[in-house]
């Protein structure tokens, strides 16, 4: 607070590091989910034929956990590239909507910044960012906050998938002890941050219901786009009736 800044760009730069630390702090609890899942993915990948270098290459370049678990499950030598690409698209098609939801908040940024930050837009990064934008009316997208969450989660994910691949299955079957519940718990908390009253309830319930149904009926990851689409159609009706 020692110096005075009159222009808004410089004051925004001053906010970078405090916001960065705030982002790191916000994302720390998520490591409870990231660390065991990272170790699990790494050890499974090596068992499936990934080499030690290929594990962090996958998790670092792709950085989308759901599609990485699917890829490990479908992995073969040589890998079926078209199948992997198709399943990756199916699981990650939700990013299209996520990017669209974030787009209006990015107008003040440079193009290269936007293309860089979108590279790291996983579910958790995206949801924490949107929740932060909505907690204070008029709050602008903060590069520092986004970077803080991203650096913390990205480094953790890439390094722990590598450690998991290197060390093999050191944790044993953690799911026996309920650690896998950390994943839906994170998502439920993210949903809580997006809750804006009963208007959300119907589309969300329809999305969940259809996704559960499709999960039972169809193999693969169709339940994600199917549920989402049903939820969107419902929200069209809900929003029309207000």
């Amino acid at each position: 607070m020692g110096t005075m800044h009159t222009t808004s760009p410089s004051s925004r730069q001053d906010d970078f590091w405090p916001d960065f630390l705030r982002g790191v702090k916000t994302s720390l609890p998520l490591l409870i989910a990231f660390i065991p899942f990272g170790l699990l993915l790494g050890s499974q990948a090596v068992q499936k034929g990934f080499s030690i270098v290929e594990v962090p290459l996958l998790t670092g370049l792709n950085f989308a956990g759901g599609s990485e678990f699917a890829a490990v499950g479908l992995w073969s030598i040589p890998p079926a590239i078209l199948l992997l690409a198709g399943v990756t698209f199916l699981i990650n098609s939700r990013h299209i909507l996520m990017g669209a939801a974030l787009a209006p908040h990015l107008r003040h940024l440079r193009r290269w910044q936007i293309f860089l930050l979108l590279f790291c837009m996983c579910d958790e990064v995206w949801a924490l960012t949107l929740t932060d934008l909505h907690t204070k009316p008029g709050r602008r997208f903060s590069m520092g906050f986004y970077a803080g969450i991203t650096v913390c989660l990205y480094l953790c994910w890439v390094s722990f998938t590598f450690i998991g691949g290197y060390s093999g299955n050191i944790l044993g079957d953690l799911t026996r002890y309920g650690v896998d519940m950390a994943f839906p718990a994170v998502f439920i908390m993210l949903l809580k941050g997006m809750w804006k009253g009963a208007r959300n309830a119907l589309p969300w319930c329809v999305s969940l219901g259809v996704a559960v149904l499709v999960y039972h009926l169809l193999p693969g990851a169709w339940y994600v786009p199917a549920g989402t689409l049903a939820g969107i159609l419902t929200s069209l009706l809900v929003v029309r009736s207000i």
Binding site: I77, L118, R176, G178, A182, A211
Partner: protein, 100 residues
């Protein structure tokens, strides 16, 4: 410490597909003006996505997992992230040990 070319190609293809999904939503909407109705819908959509991703957890037939999920939901209404996760993990772990 080896890198196989087919594996590398598969990983690069996946990375490219994922990156395209990440930028295309932005590219579609960048610079476009959203109507209030569209904005209201875009507020609801993110939750639809997240809830669909965790649908398999709701689709399970194991009583211990369903009860653990219920405990997580209940905890989420009262606590912040860290206690909620601990609540969910511990409850699920205990229930699995008890109910098998």
């Amino acid at each position: 410490m080896t890198l196989h070319i087919p594996a590398l190609l598969a990983i690069l293809t996946m990375a490219l597909v994922t990156y395209l999904t990440r930028i295309s939503g932005y590219l579609l909407l960048a610079g476009r003006h959203l109507s209030p109705r569209m904005k209201a819908i875009m507020d609801i959509v993110p939750g639809c996505v997240l809830v669909a991703v965790i649908a398999p957890n709701f689709a399970t037939g194991h009583p211990a997992d369903l009860l653990g999920l219920a405990a997580t939901l209940l905890a989420a209404t009262r606590f912040s992230l860290l206690p909620t996760m601990l609540c969910g993990v511990i409850t699920t772990g205990v229930l699995r040990a008890v109910l098998g």
